[in-house]
C-alpha cells in the first residue's frame, strides 16, 4: 500500500450508494445504521435497506451467512436504496463473492485483507484469491488489513482477541465517515450509551472508529482513497428523524387509535418474519395505550383482535405469508359481524413458506378476494417507510368509520427500509372520533348508518343493548339469525355497497408525477413507489410522455381511477408478483393494461422500469 502523504481535495458527488457487507457476526447492520444517522445529521436525503441472511447463525465465513446494509444518500430526492452500488465494503471473502455483482463497473471495493485467509477463501468458494487473480479488474480495489489495524487500535483496553476482532466494523465505519466528511460525535456518544456498563468495550469501539477515521485523515493512505462531499439535500425546515416502515406503522396505529378517540389498542400477533418486528416495536409502547399479545397462532391472534374490537378497543393483528392464510376464516367472521379490525400483512415471497426474508407483492389477490363467500373488505397499501404512518391512520379511520376489517399491505422491504421523516405536528393530526351506541331505543345490532352503511358499534358493558352476533347470516331488520333467501341477497349486497362506499370518503386518485393524460401511465402500488418514481422521472428527463400513478387504495379503487386511466394511451403496471394489480385494473375498467412482473424476491431496479417505459412508449409490449 502506498503510504506517501498527499493533500487531497474532496470530490463532489450528487448521490452515492454504499453497501456494507460482512459475516452475520461482523456487525454490518449496526455499522450501516450508524452511518445512516451521521448521514442524516449531515443533511442528506437517504433511503436504506438491510439484507440479512435467513439463517439465524449460518456458519461463519459462508456465502449464506453474509449480512449487508445498503444506503443511498444524496443531494436530491432519494427514493430508493439505489440500483447499483458505488462503494462495497467487504469484510470477508464471502461478502465480496455475494455482493460484487451489484457493484457498478468502476465502483470501489474496500476489503479487509486480514480476513482473506486461505480458509475463508475456501469457505466462500473462491478457487483463487480474487485480490490477486485479476478478476476484480473492472473495479477499484482498496485493500487494508483492517483486522490488524483494529487489533492495534484497541490493544490498550485489554479485550479478549474475540472482542477485539468484533471492533473491526467500527474501524471500517470510521474510515467511511472520513471518506464522506461525516461527523463521529453522535456515534461516539451512542457507543458510550450502548456499552454503559462495560467502559473498556465503549472505549475500544470508540478507539476503533477514531483509528479508521485517522487512517483516512493521515499519511498511511492510498492515494486512491479519495474523500467526497455530498451536498445536503434541499429539505423543508423542521424536526426530522429517520424512520423505518415498521416504526411508522407502529406510531401510525397509535395515532389512529387516538384520532378515533379509542382508549387502547390490543395488538395480537404470532411470530413470523418479517412481521414480528411490529410486535416487538409495539411491545415497548405500552405507555401509549398499547397492549400486545403473543398468541398461540395467527388464528388466535386475529381472534383476539376481533374480541378486542367487539369490546370497543382498537383490534390489530399483523402477519405475513402463511400466517395471513391462517387468518382467512376469522376475516370472514369480522366481515359477517362487521367489526373494525386492522390486519397488517408484511408480504414476503410465496407460496407456502417461500422466501421469508424476501419482499414480494403477491398477496394482493388474497387480500382482495381470498375468502369463502362474497366477503368484501377494504385493502390499502403503503408506498414508503414514511407513508406507513399515514396509511396506518387511514386504516384505523376506514375500519372504525365503516365497521369493517381493513387489510394493510406492506412488505418485507418496507418493514426494514428507512428514510428521513419530517415529524408531523402531533396536535394537527386528523380526528375521526367513534360513536359507541348507547341508546337502547329501537336498538338491534345491525342498525346501519344511512350514509356509511356501518352497523352500530354497541359494546358489552352498555346497559340495554345486550345482543347476540355471530357468523350465521343475520336478518337485515332485526339482527336475528336468518336463512331467508331474499334477506341473504340483501345482506350480501349491503356488505358490498358498504365497502364500495368507502370510495366516497377518500381523495380522488392523483398523478404522482407527470400529466394527467398522455402516452403512458405507469401504475404501481406499495413499495415499488421509489423505483417507479425515479424511473418515470428519468424517462421524462429524456422527453418521454409518461406519468406515474401510485395507488394507496386497492379496494375499493378511488372513484375517478377508471376515468383517469382512460386518458392514457397505454398503461404499464410494474409489480413484484406475476401480475395481480394489472388483472384487477383490467377487470374493473376493461383497460388494456400491461404488466411488468418481477418475482426474484428483490425490489425493482430503476433501470428495469426505465427500459419497460421505453418499450411501452415505442408501443412494444
Amino acid at each position: 500500500m502506498d503510504t506517501t502523504s498527499t493533500l487531497r481535495t474532496r470530490q463532489a458527488r450528487e448521490a452515492v450508494v454504499i453497501r456494507f457487507a460482512g459475516d452475520s457476526g461482523d456487525g454490518m447492520q449496526v455499522t450501516g445504521s450508524r452511518f445512516t444517522v451521521e448521514t442524516a445529521l449531515a443533511g442528506n436525503d437517504l433511503t436504506t435497506f438491510p439484507d440479512f441472511p435467513a439463517e439465524i447463525r449460518a456458519p461463519a465465513g459462508t456465502t449464506f451467512g453474509v449480512s449487508a446494509f445498503q444506503i443511498q444518500f444524496g443531494a436530491r430526492d432519494v427514493v430508493t436504496p439505489g440500483d447499483a452500488v458505488d462503494v462495497l465494503v467487504a469484510m470477508n471473502p464471502a461478502a465480496l463473492k455475494v455482493e460484487v455483482k451489484d457493484l457498478r463497473r468502476g465502483g470501489t471495493i474496500l476489503v479487509d485483507t486480514g480476513a482473506f485467509t486461505e480458509r475463508n477463501l475456501t469457505k466462500a468458494g473462491f478457487p483463487a484469491n480474487p485480490l490477486e487473480d485479476g478478476s476484480l479488474a473492472p473495479y477499484q480495489v482498496l485493500t487494508f488489513d483492517i483486522t490488524r489495524l483494529t487489533t492495534e487500535a484497541v490493544k490498550p483496553f485489554g479485550l479478549s482477541s474475540r472482542e477485539a476482532h468484533r471492533c473491526r466494523n467500527m474501524w471500517a465505519l470510521g474510515l467511511m465517515l472520513w471518506m464522506y466528511g461525516r461527523d463521529r460525535q453522535a456515534t461516539i456518544e451512542w457507543l458510550h450509551r450502548k456499552f454503559a456498563d462495560r467502559a473498556e468495550l465503549a472505549q475500544a469501539n470508540v478507539a476503533a472508529v477514531n483509528a479508521g477515521h485517522a487512517f483516512g485523515e493521515t499519511a498511511e493512505m492510498s492515494e486512491h482513497l479519495v474523500g467526497y462531499t455530498v451536498p445536503s439535500a434541499p429539505v423543508e425546515p423542521g424536526r426530522y428523524r429517520t424512520v423505518s416502515g415498521t416504526e411508522a406503522l407502529a406510531w401510525g396505529l397509535i395515532a389512529g387509535m387516538r384520532a378515533a378517540g379509542l382508549e387502547k389498542m390490543i395488538f395480537a400477533g404470532y411470530p413470523i418474519t418479517p412481521a414480528s418486528l411490529l410486535l416487538h416495536t409495539l411491545a415497548n409502547l405500552k405507555a401509549y395505550g398499547v397492549v400486545t399479545f403473543q398468541a398461540e397462532d395467527e388464528i388466535a391472534a386475529i381472534g383476539a383482535a376481533i374480541g378486542a374490537a367487539y369490546s370497543g378497543a382498537l383490534g390489530v393483528t399483523s402477519s405475513s405469508g402463511p400466517g395471513m392464510a391462517l387468518k382467512t376464516e376469522m376475516l370472514g367472521l369480522a366481515i359477517a359481524t362487521e367489526l373494525p379490525i386492522v390486519v397488517i400483512n408484511s408480504q414476503r415471497a410465496g407460496p407456502s413458506t417461500g422466501m421469508p426474508t424476501k419482499a414480494e407483492q403477491s398477496d394482493l389477490f388474497q387480500a382482495v378476494h381470498g375468502r369463502n363467500g362474497d366477503a368484501p373488505l377494504a385493502v390499502i397499501a403503503a408506498a414508503t417507510a414514511v407513508d406507513c404512518f399515514e396509511v396506518a391512520i387511514e386504516a384505523v379511520r376506514i375500519a372504525t368509520t365503516y365497521m369493517t376489517p381493513v387489510i394493510v399491505l406492506s412488505d418485507a422491504y418496507l418493514a426494514h427500509a428507512a428514510e428521513p421523516w419530517r415529524l408531523p405536528d402531533a396536535t394537527a393530526l386528523p380526528k375521526f372520533p367513534v360513536h359507541f351506541r348507547t341508546d337502547p331505543a329501537d336498538f338491534h345490532p345491525f342498525l346501519r348508518d344511512p350514509v356509511t352503511l356501518a352497523r352500530a358499534w354497541a359494546v358489552p358493558g352498555t346497559p340495554g343493548l345486550e345482543h347476540r352476533i355471530g357468523g350465521l347470516e343475520k336478518d337485515y331488520d332485526t339482527g336475528h339469525i336468518s336463512y331467508d333467501p331474499d334477506n341473504h341477497a340483501r345482506m350480501t349486497r349491503t356488505r358490498a355497497a358498504k365497502i364500495a362506499g368507502i370510495a366516497s370518503g377518500i381523495p380522488p386518485q392523483r398523478v404522482a408525477l407527470g400529466d394527467d393524460h398522455g402516452a403512458v401511465a405507469v401504475v404501481g402500488w406499495g413499495s415499488t413507489y421509489g423505483a417507479i418514481h425515479r424511473a418515470v422521472s428519468e424517462a421524462r428527463d429524456e422527453g418521454g410522455d409518461v406519468s406515474h400513478i401510485h395507488l394507496r387504495y386497492l379496494n375499493p379503487f378511488p372513484r375517478n381511477l377508471g376515468e383517469l386511466l382512460s386518458r392514457f394511451e397505454r398503461i404499464l403496471v410494474p409489480e413484484m408478483n406475476d401480475g395481480q394489480l394489472v388483472q384487477l385494473l383490467r377487470a374493473a375498467y376493461l383497460v388494456p393494461a400491461i404488466g411488468l412482473s418481477k418475482v426474484e424476491g428483490k425490489p425493482f431496479k430503476v433501470s428495469e422500469i426505465v427500459q419497460a417505459i421505453e418499450s411501452t412508449l415505442k408501443g412494444q409490449p
Binding site: G307, E466, R468
Partner: protein, 343 residues
C-alpha cells in the same frame, strides 16, 4: 371502557332467556344445561350488560342465542381466542365460553390448551356428548374406542382424550365435572367456577339423544348412579355408594387409588382419602377413574387460584407507563435521534 352496573330489580332465571326459540332436538341435554346456567346467573345476580357468552360452532355453541346477555357465536374451535381478546380489552366483563367436545378439543384443542395455561379469567363450559352433534353424528375426540358413527362404520380405533385430564395437563387451575341432568350440582359448580379468578374449566356430560343416546347411562342412570358416581367435596372423605359404604384410599406401596369398604368390617376410617381440591396429584388420580372398577369423580376436582392473565398483563402495562389516559404522541415521535433543519 368503563362499566356502569345497573342493579335493577332482582333477576329471575327467566330474565336471562332471550326471545329466540330454542332449537335443540327435543330431549337434548343442552336444555338442562341452559336452565342451570340461567339459574346460576340469577343466583349470582349477574348484570346482563356485563355478562358475555362466547361460543364456537356446534349444537352446544348455539347457546349464546338463548341468553339475554351479550353473546358472540364465533367460528369453530376459536372461542377461547376471541374471549381472550375481550378480556384483554375490558377485564371488567364477566366472560363465559361455551364449547363442545369437537369444538374445544379437536379443532380448538390448541386454543383450549393455551387459554387454560395462560389462566385468562373465563368460565369455560365444555359440553361433552362424545360425538359431533351438529354435523350429524361423526365420532369425536372424546368418543370411546369402538364408537360406530357415519365416519367409523367399523368402530373408532382412536383412544379418546379425557377433557379434565387435558385441562389439568394444560395447567388449568380450576377443573370440575358434572352431569347435565343434575341441576343443583351443575348450578353449584357454575357458581364456584364464577367465583374462581382465572380460567375455570367445567366439563358437563351431555346426552345427545339423537346421535349418542345413553353413552353415559352406565354411570348416570338412576339404578347405578350412587354406586358409580363419586361426588367430591373439599375436606370430606372420598366415599360413595348407596349407603356410603365404599371409599377410596391409596393402594399401599404404590401411587394408585383403590376402592375399599368403609364402616363396619371396612378399613380404618383414617385410611380413606380426604378430598383436597388444591392437590394436583390427587386431582390427576381422580379424573382418571372410570367404571366399572371405579366411580366417576364429579364436583370440583381441582381449585388452586393464581393471578389471572389479564391482571398480570395490566400490571406489566402499568409498570411500563400505561395509564389509560392518552399519552403524548409528540413525545413518542421525538423520543431519540432527531435533528432540526433550520428555515
Amino acid at each position: 371502557m368503563t362499566v356502569t352496573t345497573i342493579t335493577d330489580a332482582e333477576l329471575a332465571p327467566k330474565d336471562y332467556a332471550s326471545d329466540q326459540e330454542v332449537r335443540w332436538c327435543p330431549g337434548c341435554g343442552d336444555y338442562a344445561i341452559l336452565k342451570a346456567v340461567q339459574k346460576a346467573l340469577a343466583e349470582l345476580g349477574a348484570p346482563r350488560e356485563r355478562t358475555v357468552f362466547v361460543s364456537g360452532i356446534g349444537c352446544a355453541a348455539r347457546f349464546p342465542y338463548y341468553l339475554s346477555t351479550y353473546g358472540f357465536h364465533t367460528i369453530h374451535g376459536r372461542a377461547p381466542a376471541i374471549a381472550t381478546g375481550i378480556k384483554l380489552a375490558n377485564p371488567g366483563l364477566d366472560v363465559w365460553v361455551v364449547t363442545g367436545d369437537g369444538d374445544g378439543l379437536s379443532i380448538g384443542g390448541n386454543h383450549m390448551l393455551h387459554v387454560l395455561r395462560r389462566n385468562v379469567d373465563l368460565q369455560i363450559i365444555l359440553f361433552n356428548n362424545e360425538i359431533y352433534g351438529l354435523t350429524k353424528g361423526q365420532y369425536s375426540p372424546t368418543s370411546r374406542r369402538g364408537t360406530h358413527s357415519p365416519s367409523t362404520p367399523q368402530g373408532s380405533i382412536e383412544s379418546p382424550v379425557s377433557p379434565c385430564a387435558f385441562a389439568l395437563g394444560a395447567g388449568a387451575r380450576f377443573v370440575a365435572r358434572a352431569v347435565d341432568t343434575q341441576q343443583p350440582e351443575v348450578v353449584a359448580l357454575l357458581k364456584r367456577a364464577h367465583a374462581h379468578h382465572g380460567a375455570s374449566f367445567v366439563e358437563v356430560f351431555q346426552n345427545c339423544v339423537v346421535f349418542n343416546d345413553g353413552v353415559f347411562d352406565h354411570f348416570t342412570s338412576k339404578d347405578v348412579a350412587s354406586d358409580t358416581q363419586l361426588h367430591v367435596e373439599h375436606g370430606k372423605p372420598l366415599v360413595f355408594g348407596r349407603n356410603r359404604e365404599r371409599g377410596l384410599r391409596l393402594k399401599p406401596g404404590t401411587v394408585a387409588l383403590e376402592v375399599v369398604p368403609v364402616g363396619e368390617g371396612g378399613v380404618p376410617p383414617g385410611d380413606i382419602l380426604v378430598h383436597d381440591e388444591t392437590n394436583r396429584a390427587l386431582a390427576q388420580l381422580l379424573v382418571a377413574l372410570e367404571p366399572p372398577a371405579f366411580p366417576v369423580a364429579l364436583g370440583v376436582l381441582y381449585c388452586n387460584p393464581a393471578a389471572s392473565y389479564e391482571a398480570e398483563v395490566y400490571a406489566q402495562a402499568r409498570a411500563a407507563g400505561f395509564t389509560g389516559e392518552p399519552a403524548d404522541l409528540g413525545a413518542l415521535l421525538r423520543r431519540e435521534g432527531t435533528w432540526t433543519v433550520a428555515p
